[in-house]
Symmetry: C2
Subunit: 407 residues, 2 copies
């Protein structure tokens, strides 16, 4: 008998029929002898509907009240699932954030979980009552509602799993696991049975939308075995765990991609300490999230500084840079909002220096120009023109033989 946390996202509880199907699935897990804690998102579309209402009432809706507004979505979905479970003759009870003591900081709309009081959940499980916990929401030190921001319900599920020391945290979603690449781009992309937290974190950060990076980071930190699987199909999905010595490491696990990127270059700025922070200061304070940063040193004491942002932040970023450019005497500020990022990820590349060369050779063979390069221990990311993105993903997927098991 295992203790399992099952998290279902918005599309999995998006209708009355789907809620009943989820209830059946939870009841099946119970009948198979497992103890289950369920964590839910709001019904698909509900968070957007509430967000739109808030934005219609005020152009700058107060963050702490938006949290109260948005949290009502999960309140409805947990009640509905508890109703469906009881309808199947299966004891169940809904838990709101304050009832299960999900304590967060007071950073509204992007709060971070500080701790979870597990006593209510443990009592519920001991009594044979399946707890259905509202994802995405928490309470701060003064008892006010908070929300965790994007991917919040995944984070709730992982945090609950860590707190109760669950055997597994299952993220039940509309895909059947983590693939070597997006199957819509690469026809022979293969579901991975197993992947490490570090790889998953890179894949999640790099635009593979299966799991939110925060939840992966959290799961890694507390070593919660995480499984991504389909809400409705059968199959084991993808298990995400810490790396073990005995694991056979494929060199490369997958190819991730991110559209909707934009790059900005400030050319001919003085190559002296403090320039980077002068350039990125106003952007960071906006706050606009900066992804890749590349700086080349020139021989003339001047340098070109390039970084990427989300495409939606492109115009605003260019605007913010104008005064800085003047101040630094930059030669020019230029940019391109039709770029994409393609990344090759795998823990095995730590010990295989040849991976980078194979990436560059593969793209060169396809005549794809690499605009920026960024590397970490277990990934290589390149920026290319967006129109070459799909070709690049397919070429790299083939080059690393990812459609073959352990390829």
């Amino acid at each position: 008998m295992a203790l399992v946390v099952q998290k279902y996202g918005g599309t999995s509880v998006g209708s009355v029929e789907k809620i009943r199907a989820v209830a059946k699935r939870v009841a099946d897990a119970r009948d198979a002898g497992h103890k289950v804690i369920v964590v839910l998102s709001a019904m698909a579309g509900e968070t957007d509907r509430l967000q739109d209402l808030g934005s219609a009432v005020s152009a700058r809706p107060a963050a702490e009240e938006m949290d109260v507004l948005l949290a009502s979505g999960e309140q409805a979905s947990i009640a509905l699932l508890a109703i469906a479970l009881k309808d199947l003759g299966h004891p169940s009870r809904s838990y709101l954030a304050h009832q299960v003591g999900i304590r967060t900081d007071a950073d509204h709309q992007r709060a971070r979980i500080e701790r979870i009081d597990t006593s209510a959940l443990r009592e519920s499980l001991a009594a044979g009552v399946t707890p259905v916990v509202a994802g995405f929401q928490g309470i701060d030190g003064s008892g006010r509602l908070t929300t965790l921001g994007r991917g919040g319900s995944d984070t709730t599920a992982v945090a609950v799993a860590a707190a109760v020391e669950a055997d597994e945290c299952q993220i039940c979603t509309d895909v059947d696991g983590v693939c070597t690449a997006d199957p819509r781009i690469v026809a022979d992309a293969r579901r991975l049975d197993h992947i490490t937290f570090e790889e998953m974190f890179e894949l999640a950060s790099l635009g593979s939308r299966v799991l939110h990076p925060r939840s992966v980071e959290f799961a890694g930190k507390y070593a919660v075995p995480l499984r991504v699987l389909s809400s409705f199909a059968t199959g084991g999905g993808t298990l995400i765990t810490v790396e073990s010595e005995s694991m056979e490491q494929p060199i490369v696990s997958g190819i991730a991609h991110a559209r909707d990127e934009a790059k900005i270059t400030m050319s001919g700025v003085p190559d002296v300490p403090g320039v980077a922070s002068k350039i990125l200061g106003p952007v960071g304070r906006a706050p606009i999230e900066v992804d890749m940063i590349v700086q080349n040193t020139g021989a003339d004491g001047l340098t070109d500084f390039t970084f990427t942002v989300k495409r939606g932040d492109y115009a605003r970023t260019l605007e913010l840079l104008q005064p800085v450019g003047g101040e630094l005497g930059a030669r020019s500020i230029s940019g391109d909002d039709q770029i994409a990022k393609v990344s090759v990820v795998g823990v095995g590349m730590r010990s295989h220096a040849g991976v980078a060369m194979r990436v560059f050779d593969t793209l060169a063979a396809e005549n794809i120009n690499i605009q920026m390069i960024s590397t970490s221990e277990i990934k290589i990311s390149v920026v290319v023109a967006e129109r070459y993105m799909e070709l690049a993903v397919r070429a790299l997927h083939g080059a690393f033989e990812l459609s073959e098991p352990n390829g």
Copy 2:
């Protein structure tokens, strides 16, 4: 400077525009120097939508989870109003039931308020922050959400007003006060400036849909001055207070009516003690609400027993009575579901014995047959065929000269 509780119903917060209008109104009251606590219902249609979802998930949705589900409606509306108030530069904060300590019993879907912890509200007011409290919801002793049933938000408003000892509890609605009769039936019905709790309670119970009887009872019990007024028009509405010696008492204050009634008669049952409870026992346990009860004693040791129920309960009630009728050897069980109740209400009739006669004379003059009569200290109710209801209301309104001030 007064301390005022303002309650807005679902139609008053039924759209983004209306929420902004309510915010303006609350801000105006603040700017006029008053301290305001706002109590809200869910946006119009929202409670029905949630109820339908719950009923679609289960034919018998668990009451305690329905409360969690339904309470999410008020959570959204209070957040939206707090956002709108802040958008006007007006400090405000939403309060859920557990945050303001609205303690109820554990009778889900029809809980009763036991007490309210006023410390959070008082602190908020002292800090110049207008509290926006979720109506309709409470928490029971174990911290679970409850709802108060029909008219729940009115009851919340009155209970909050009583707890903070407000100068006035304003029920802001889509009518501009309490009228001498339904203006849709009586063209020259007049808004009452003033009415007593007892009269209002009778009018509310008798089908005048302005206020829920429970809230009126509560207000009377704690002597909270209650005012019914329009959410959007100006005007003083109707003030409901305890009767004072000096008040000039009109004999009759208003004419109420209730459609959708049905009556059932069990004829020829033994005229012995315990018969009434034998007949009404199964009905009361169903539970079906019984309104008027009339029993006439016959000379032959048999009696006819008649009572009224809501029309929707008519068929079920007839069904429940069959075995009882057999047991008691009743001659027949008959009924009529095309009846209506018309009531004349006024504290002044206590000392005016002639009121009943004027009611009977007036209806006789219109050739309207009276099927049942029921009286209390301050009201006379008659049951008539539904098709004569409007005529009866108009005739009585004229007979008591209610279109004239103090008529």
